[in-house]
Amino acid sequence: MRKFVLFIAAVLSVAMVHAQNKQVSGMVYAPDGTVVAGATVLVEGTTTVTLTSVDGHYVINAPQNGTLVFSLLGYQTQSVAIEGRSVVDVNMKEDTEVIDDVVVLAYGTTSARKATASVASIKADALKDSPSVSLDQMMQGRASGVSITTPNAGVGQASNVMVRGVSSISAGTNPLYVVDGVPIMAGNMSPSGVADANGLADINPADIISIDVLKDAAATALYGSRAASGVVIITTKQGRTGKAKVTYDMSVGASNATYLPEVMNAEQYTNFKNMALVNRYGTSEVSLNGKDSEWGKNAFNLMTDSKGKTIDTNWAKELFRTGLVHNHTLAVSGGSNRVSYYMSANYTDQKGIVIGDHYNRLGVRANVSGQATDWLKVGFTANYTHSITEMLDGSRGGEVYAAVGFTRAALILPPNTPAYNEDGSYYVDATKQYLGDGPNRVTTGYQNPVTTLDNINNSKIDRLISSGFVEITPVKGLSLKSQFGVDYSKNEEEKFWTPNYGQGVTYPGYAFNVFTDYMNWNWTNTIGYSVDIKDHNIDILLGQELTSEGYDYAILSGTGILNKDFAGLYPGYESYDGGAARGKRTMSSYFARLNYDYKSKYLISLNYRRDGLSSLGANSKWGNFWGVSAAWRISEEGFWDDIRSTMNEFKIKASYGTVGNSEIGYYNAQSYFGDSLYGGNYALLLGNIGDDNLQWETSNKLDVGFSMQFLNNITIDFDYYNTKTSSLVFAVPQGPSTGIGSLVTNAGAMRNQGVELAIGADIIRRKNFVWNTNFNFTYAKNEVVELANGVTEIYGSSENNITIPGYSVGQLYVYPTGGIDSETGQRVFYGPNGEWTRLDMSTGSPTWYLKDGTVYQGDFERVRAGNTLPTYFGGWTNTFRFYGVDITLFLQYSGGNWIYNGTGASLSDYRWWNNSMDVYNNYWKEPGDNAKYPKPYYGDNYSNGSAMEISDWIERGDYLRVKNICVGYTFDTKKWNKKLGISSLRLYVQCQNALTLTGYSGLDPETNSMTGDMILSGGFDKNTLPQARTWTGGLNITF
């Protein structure tokens, strides 16, 4: 390792001159003698700051005559003069008067005391035991104001992350993610949707030291046009001076679907469907496919295998399985006086809870920084990931009606029909496209889903996120820094449909490949100056940045691909087709910040950024963004002296500013032409008319709040926010006589308001018993204020969701119904004027009758049936440490929203579809029954919400989840033989999604089927994977 360090030093051509600044290192101990991890070490009078590692060690550059300030929540802040020492160990004292964590800012940090903006931090500790493969899922419930929904347990599924509500209707609502100063791509990285790949999964969670969510205008203003949806700043681990440290973290977990409804078995199914036939036709001896069956005269019969055993297929067992995930991270870190390094390699393999679901990642990271001279610092970061996401489930990406959607197939396929022949081959019909009829005189027209095992669907990603910087400190307090970062990704998506079964038969054999390069870079140059003049503390930051984002993709598809080996579309295809596209956008920016405080008592922060973006209109390429915040630490005033011992810290703060959302099409603002012909001559037609004035969506953000600490260990943070977003980007229809059609332009407005509360306390802090608790709560209200002129409503992916002014986005929009008429057993539907009607399906075609028995002649209209955004959410973490045992209980909750239980609708469809046991037990049998399900008439797909979405399936989405329970044991390695070389060892077991308390009767209240359009089409649960419960065991070991 020493050689390596020397090598790095040589490469950097560092002149090892005697420095004014030198490395200072040391240990930080708690009063009980244990080490203190995560303590802040600050060089007084500078912005140089670091944190102690998990073993309590720190290293920092400081002047020999300087002073180090040690701080951590729950301990007194201590200032220790270095006095020329190179090792400064500190014993912290408990119950100090103030909180002083490091708070991450845009392009910098500050201390919690001096923070005036709204930032939520999640430290590595909170993340370390989660078995999730990506950080978005780990953030859920951890930070106030941040709503995170993971719509299903599929591999590669990105979470929907919203900071302080829905920031946009059409321009994207995801926050900006910045890793070590480099903005990165997030969300689904499968451009063609072959196999969803989560962009955030390319950052190994074990490499992360902290995640900070910047929420208000003051915190985000320096990210200007990209800040409207908040900014998530991810900081990865750095090496520290001292002996090289080797850590190995691993975990192995098994997962299952949290819930699948129970469906009828073969015998129940056969009886039930035959009964429905009798209700419809008077007999069950009918043929619905025009064929006879050797298994009986009824439409539905039982089938036996060669041993005489009745076929009773549990389709869920054929498609669902126990998933297996294992994670490994091996990291080496350390440093000398001048160079520090952190290097890690990680390997993750995840088999999902359905067949074909597989994720595999191999990644390496290197973070190296060196103090070349006392005034020159250089650093380099690289993160390379190779990942592959595979899936066969047809319901991904919002394909709720996909015939090979595994969840629906698992629930509704006939249980009396086999999945496999006795020889192990797939059970299919003569065309091999569909499931065989089995003993039924009905043709399903559905593919046998297990035949998809012969198909391929995957996304392969090779991604490099890397950056390098040079920082010069010509004089004390002044620093010039230049950082260049890249996020490059090469994606290859591959789809193959076997010629032998299912969708691929007619081609025969189909392959589809997409090759995409993403190339993003940014170059940031900043000048920082920090000066204290008596009691006036001033921090100035000036910066300039260039950013470029681009993609280039090519599509190749072919038919006549007879063999999986040729799915890469090299030889042997009959015909092929291709296409390509590329695009690029660029941004140029200038920014400035002034932080000023007087005696750390009155604080003010002024932030400004000017962005120019290529994708905006010619007249509005440049925009100004700003944020102002101020805070008053009342507890620093003289009159507070008397109560400071109980009310340690009290700060009120406010911020206001304007930031933007630039997630709009690269070329929406440009006028360009389409090709055509006139009498055989080449003709160019105006294709897109660009709006020269197209500009950012603008968010005006107000935040007021306070933070306080009392009794030395209880902290409360409270914020009220009110964000008005205007100039939303829409394709706005123009007056017909303009001849334009529609134009992407700015119109409309939306408002998000809410309160956020975070409470933390160290309830017990004894030497061998610690209990701390963190609770957060967010109330959020979204309202669409206005849409564009001529746009009265916006539908989601279907008419099941509607967005209209006066309500939150994505309201459920379904036909009003009123349960089952107890006299007739028929579903009650309400007409537009409240007319009571009942739906008679006895003839097979829907006829609605009025109370008086006459046929209702009118139409039915959808009605708004509930908001789909949660109005409150949060989390509660309790951590206990008792001697070596640690227990973490993490509860997460959310609610105030409504869900359309489309799974319930599918499960009560009276066609050949299998139904739930709930239907079997609760259908209408005779007059007077207050049944949940209507009288079964075979073929009826109207009464139960399949063909027409009905309000009877709208349910509340409130839930409380035991998100994580973890029990760990840390061995007392100090007593172990030194020769083992183990300095710490912890073993743990944990369970994710252990228990969910909810009134929702569908798969899971967090489920969202429309994963491609989660905002405008929220609250829709149909044909989607449920959540997974994962049991994990793991170890953390340090050598």
Binding site: L376, I472, T473, P474, L480, S482, W523, N525, I527, Q544, L546, A580, A581, R582, G583, K584, T586, M587, S588, Y590, G612, L613, S614, S615, Y666, Q670, S671, Y672, F673, D675, S676, L677, Y678, G679, G680, N681, Y682, A683, L684, L685, L686, G687, I689, G690, D691, D692, N693, Q734, G735, P736, S737, T738, G739, I740, G741, L743, T745, A747, N789, G790
Partner: protein
Amino acid sequence: MKKIFIGLMTLVSLVSMTSCKDFLEQPIPDTTNEPLVFSKAEYIEANLMGCYHYFKSTSTMSYTFMGGKTYAALDSRGDDVVNINNQQTLKDTYEMNVLGSNQLENYPTWVMAYSIINECNVFIDNMASYNPVEKGIISAEVAAQYIAEAKFLRAYTYYVLCKLYSQPYCKNPESPAVPLRLTGLKASGNNDCPLSSIGKIYEQIIADCNPTALASQTLKTRATADAARMLKMRVEMAMGKWSDAIVTGSEITGYTLVADMTTLYGFFEEKGYSNSEMIFILPMTSMDSPNTQSSVADYYSLNAQVGWLDTEAGILSKEAYCLEADQRISALTEWGEKYLYTKKFTNIGTKTDWIPQMRYAETLLNLAECYANVGDRESLDKAKAALKTVRERAIPAESDILNIDELTGKDAILEAVYNERRAELICEGIRGADIARRGENFVKKNSFVDINIAPGDSRYVWPIPDSEYAYNNALEK
């Protein structure tokens, strides 16, 4: 010193970097954008072809303008073809029952018309703003010709709009017609535009007809000097400026009527079809033919059986206009089971019938009508001479039962001219426009309908589409 030097270097590089202005210019790749179009002569011409493409409207459009549906609508308003079949629409048009909410005839016509107008306006504006002449990309003459072609298409489109949406000029030159838009719209916020009077629009059409600039443009699939004269003449006639129209029409020279009229119709493969009678014709190829059910053949051909010739009350019910010896009957009509159909447009499969817009026979009949209206003896003789030329091409004088020479008096001659126009130009987008031009009643009385609508009646015109009212706040219902 060194560190200060490096610090300064950083600052200098910062400043120099930010001076690269083009960094934010990212034109869309692999697609033609405006600066690119106006940087190359062939792209400029292609953009002009785009204006023509819109004017005829083909498979890339859901609706066809003067290459299809709108052309047929002008006849369906008239009394010589029956269109009571709702299969391909225009039934409401025939029955004079088009509403503001009509989504099949009214709204798409309006949208297409203004798409053409904006395409032309943007082209005209871009020719000024990109100034390819100054940059040496095209010559000043070519530029003037291109602009004149675009203005011709704009003018022709306004002419069609006036025929559909405005009460007749002859009844009231101040009749509100349609919004007059003359500048290219490339941004939102331009929805409001009041109606201009038919008089004002006619003045604009006349101003937009620039034969001089079109002098060297001889392709008949594009605007020629004589096409511009024809359009000008039509408008002058509508304004009752008979002598002006005679002057304009007399400048149209060098044409002769073809002997075999079937050579005027069908699919002409060679570009710029040069027929001695044709003045302006819209070309069709298999690659840019009208959309499903939008070609003229889809309305009038025997195979389509949608619209047929009115043999009960139309011009073909008059003895002198359904003669067997008339090649317009013998060669250009055919009987189906019950009804008589035109054979001018028959390619229902390929939809490649070219669509005549202006031909010399119309010029002669226009002149005849102008001279007859002037009414002095000399003029009446000239009217009869022009009329005779047209009629005798179709019917040998010896077989004719109508003796034009024997006609006396302005009224008799005018009536003969009116009738001849109907017979000659049937199904060519003229009849409906003629009725409106003269302020006559729309009278259709046969086994299917009984309609008599006078000027001033709201049903006399198509109402401006409801959606225009919804967006255009300068309009009042």
